[in-house]
């Protein structure tokens, strides 16, 4: 295992190496890396507007990352975050549109609807795994596509009158923040970031501090021993998927009630759910790690938007950099090994 300094040092080194190799790629393909990276930085943290946008981008990444991480920590692989996020999105918007209530009730209700929808969508693979031992990876992959088609149908035929988008949710169910918008020169930053951070804390508390979390982790590591110790393995598998799905659904609610304020027909997946896998793994499946990884993702992805304009570097460079960072984090063993050699050499 790694020491405490290594736990901090390895991701930092990975990021640096990822950026370095990204610079080499830019150089080789004829772009100026300094220009590229400074554009990237300007486009993500350059001024209050971009900071606002970056924070807005980080918000769903945190939830998607927590969703994947939660399942992972409890021995399951949830590739279905994308689908759970979509159903959470539509459910939150639906509740936002269907009721006329004071904000203090309406907004929590709409947010909760997103969580519940995501949880239900994840309940199916959980149940199939628990009762029939059907592999959750297949079911969650398939459920993504079903969600996409179902949500498109709901937008067009149920929630709207054959429109491409639903109406905007009313103020009473909106996460939009005039305050942040004013502060960040009209960015779309909304109150969701507080929910996301709260989500990370809840994640930590559930998993590390409650007896339920103890049980979930135990089942994740060793189903047999957990059963011998009197835990209900099937119930825990389902619970784990449901909680994971709820996080994903909340990510959708952030989009539905915050970023967009409505739902619309998707021609393809949003990609946030798939990015969530990388966020979770990069963050080592712990709460603080997920938040930091989501921040890194948000910064890179947001900065990438402006990079082609200001430096000509294609946005895809960012994907390459992310991939390399993930490789180094994954290969932390070799970094730790080299660090040790280095230390010994220094002495």
């Amino acid at each position: 295992m790694f020491s405490r300094t290594q736990t901090i040092l390895i991701p930092v080194i990975s990021v640096v190496l990822g950026l370095l190799i990204g610079a080499v790629v830019m150089l080789v393909s004829g772009y100026n890396p300094i220009e590229g990276y400074s554009a990237l930085l300007r486009g993500s943290l350059g001024d209050s507007f971009y900071i606002g946008e970056t924070i807005r981008q980080i918000t769903p990444y945190i939830f998607a990352g927590l969703a994947v991480a939660f399942a992972f920590r409890t021995g399951l692989f949830n590739i279905g975050v994308e689908g759970q996020l979509l159903v959470g999105w539509i459910a939150s918007v639906w509740v936002g549109l269907a009721f006329d209530l004071p904000k203090i009730i309406h907004l929590p209700m709409a947010v909760l609807a997103g969580a519940i929808a995501g949880a239900l969508w994840a309940f199916i693979p959980g149940l199939l795994k628990a009762k029939l031992r059907v592999h959750e990876v297949i079911v969650t992959i398939m459920m993504n596509y079903i969600a996409l088609h179902l949500v498109n149908y709901l937008v067009r035929y149920v929630i709207s009158d054959q429109q491409n988008t639903t109406s905007r949710v009313p103020e009473s169910a909106s996460l939009k923040s005039p305050f942040f918008e004013a502060l960040t020169e009209f960015s779309t930053m909304h109150y969701g970031i507080f929910l996301a951070l709260a989500g990370a804390i809840i994640y930590y508390v559930i998993l590390e501090k409650t007896s339920t979390g103890f049980e979930l982790r135990s089942v994740g590591f060793n189903q047999n021993a957990s059963q011998y110790a009197g835990m209900n393995v099937n119930r825990n598998i389902i619970l784990s998927m449901v909680i994971s799905g709820a996080f994903a659904g909340l990510g959708g609610a952030m989009e539905g009630l915050g970023t967009f304020g409505y739902a619309f027909i998707h021609g393809a997946f949003s990609g946030v759910g798939f990015d969530g896998i990388a966020v979770a793994l990069l963050g080592g499946n712990v709460a603080i790690g997920v938040v930091l990884a989501a921040a890194l993702f948000g910064i890179l992805k947001q900065g990438a938007l402006i990079m082609p304009l200001q430096s000509g570097v294609p946005t895809e460079l960012v994907e390459i950099v992310i991939a390399i960072i993930i490789f180094f984090v994954a290969s932390s063993y070799i970094i730790a090994y080299l660090l040790q050699r280095f230390k010994k050499g220094a002495q």
């Binding site: 409650t210 007896s211 060793n222 047999n224 021993a225 011998y228």
Partner: protein, 511 residues
């Protein structure tokens, strides 16, 4: 001297520990040479060095007088060295034959010549009396047959020198007898054997010489002839060892467990326990003797709620348990030391502290309003670590990092500390050294003396005879006899376990 193997001044380090320090072991042709030492003394390490899995830091190895450099198991194979590992090296999903020929497959064109492979296996197994079914899947066969497959693997490769790392720890008495017979055949064929075992009686029975190591250091090599178990044990431990466990007469009181007309099916749906009746009282240890596979596992799983019963009743102090889930049964006062500590006893990736509350984490004081109280958990862990002498750097250490004996002590501590009315101990001393065994036996007896009931399941007749107050013999899912350990012998028990006396009810002394 014509030594076939000489390991001279071997040193092997692992990070932070010297597993072998200047050990010398010399094996004569045609002898059975025992390697003796406590858990963690470095026996397996030394043999893994010989087999090419580990590279020694110092020392030299000679095979038939010639210096060799064994850098991989391949080279060991080429030199005629074969090893039957402590933990079997078999691929569960492969057949016996596939496991044996793996890496040296007979070929027909591009394909494996499975026919020839099976013939070869059959031929060797006939020659040495190693009964196996060449076509059976490893997962489907008994531990004994798995071990014979392991031996066949080495013979198939033409091994002249065979290393056996604790081969008897997992075998039933009958299988051990067969194995000893096999040893003799192998020796008669001109092969030489190194045998690791914790059972001193076995050493005295079959071995010619013995090398004793303690904490990684070679202590002595001596002829077995004339040596006594006590002498060997004190060499190994470094102090005097009393053999008999101190035990007073049992004073059985109320009935704790009452099983009647119990029927249980196994995982495949075949009836494994039939119309079984059994009674255990407070203040006694009931030993269950039987050949593996006669329904012992299913019986225990039924009592602990891990398997649904087909019919019958299980009562704990008068309360019917059979419809309860495992947790309720645990709460009702049943403790369980499972047979397979890695698979069922511990969450190896959890710290040892969390493992100490694996059944009680949700109860006060470990949890309040669903919130864990880590301070209390670790306090409890520390207490058990001290009380049960679990050797671990701290309560935060992963359970995986502990040695088998210490893992077992942790489980026993956890179960006994809950002070259950009925403690089920399934093979609690498997693979442990004499010191650890003594410790665990003493704990079981203490529990009895506190007025609790103990159900002991073991394949070691010694253990059953020494520890139990009554012995129930299980055969084909039924208790065919209950005997008093003071009035029976190993021979008689053996016969009962084979089911031979079933019909002659009159001969059996019911207690």
């Amino acid at each position: 001297m014509d030594y076939v193997i000489e390991m001279l001044n071997i040193r092997k380090e692992f990070p932070g520990i010297v597993a072998n320090d200047n050990i010398t072991l010399q094996l004569k042709k045609g002898e059975i040479h025992a390697l003796l030492g406590e858990n963690g003394a470095g026996k397996s390490t030394l043999m893994n060095v010989l087999f090419g899995l580990y590279q020694p830091e110092k020392g030299e190895i000679r095979v038939k007088g010639e210096k060799v450099n064994i850098t991989s198991p391949n080279i060991a194979n080429d030199l005629g060295i074969g090893m039957v590992h402590q933990h079997f090296m078999l691929v569960d999903t492969f057949t016996v034959t596939e496991n044996i020929v793996l890496g040296m497959e007979p070929k027909k064109g591009f394909t494996i010549d499975m026919k020839k492979a099976e013939r070869d296996v059959k031929e060797i197994s006939d020659r040495y009396g190693l009964r196996v079914d060449p076509k059976a899947k490893i997962a489907d066969i008994s531990v004994g047959m798995q071990q014979r497959a392991e031996i066949l693997k080495t013979l198939y490769r033409g091994a002249e020198i065979l290393i056996f790392d604790e081969p008897t720890a997992v075998l039933t008495p009958q299988e051990i007898k067969e194995l000893i017979q096999i040893f003799r055949t192998l020796i008669a064929e001109g092969k030489s054997i190194i045998l690791i075992t914790h059972k001193l009686k076995e050493i005295i029975e079959v071995c010619d010489r013995v090398t004793v190591i303690r904490k990684g250091v070679g202590i002595d090599t001596l002829d077995v002839e004339g040596a006594t178990p006590n002498q060997l044990a004190s060499l190994m431990v470094g102090r005097e060892v009393l053999f008999r466990t101190e035990k007073t007469e049992a004073e059985p009181k109320d009935v704790v467990l009452q099983i009647s007309k119990l029927n249980v099916n196994d995982a495949r749906g075949v009836r494994a326990v039939r119309d079984l009746d059994l009674t255990i009282r407070a203040g006694e240890i009931l030993g269950i003797a039987g050949v593996d596979g006669n329904g012992q596992t299913e019986l225990i799983e039924a009592i602990t709620g891990l398997t649904k019963i087909s019919s019958g009743s299980i009562k704990l102090s008068g309360k019917e348990l059979s419809s309860y889930k495992t947790r309720k049964i645990t709460e009702a006062g049943v403790g369980h030391i499972p047979q397979d500590r890695h698979k069922h006893g511990l969450v190896l990736d959890f710290p040892i502290g969390d493992n100490m509350v694996l059944q009680t984490y949700y109860q006060r004081p470990y949890s309040k309003l669903s919130m864990l109280n880590n301070k209390e958990i670790n306090k409890q862990a520390k207490k058990l670590i001290n009380e049960f002498d679990v050797r671990t750097p701290s309560e935060y250490t992963q359970a995986r990092a502990l040695s088998g004996g210490n893992q077992q002590k942790a489980i026993i501590g956890r179960e006994i500390d809950r002070d259950p009315d009925l403690l089920i101990a399934a093979q609690p001393t498997r693979g442990l050294d004499v010191g650890a065994i003594e410790f665990i036996h003493q704990r079981l007896i203490d529990q009895r003396d506190k007025g609790k009931a103990v159900l002991l399941l073991s394949f070691e007749l010694d253990e059953i005879l020494n520890v139990s107050d009554r012995i129930a013999v299980i055969y084909e899912g039924n208790i065919i006899a209950v005997v008093n350990p003071k009035e029976t012998t190993e021979q008689e028990l053996g016969l009962l376990m084979a089911g031979s006396k079933k019909k002659e009810e009159g001969d059996i002394k019911h207690v």
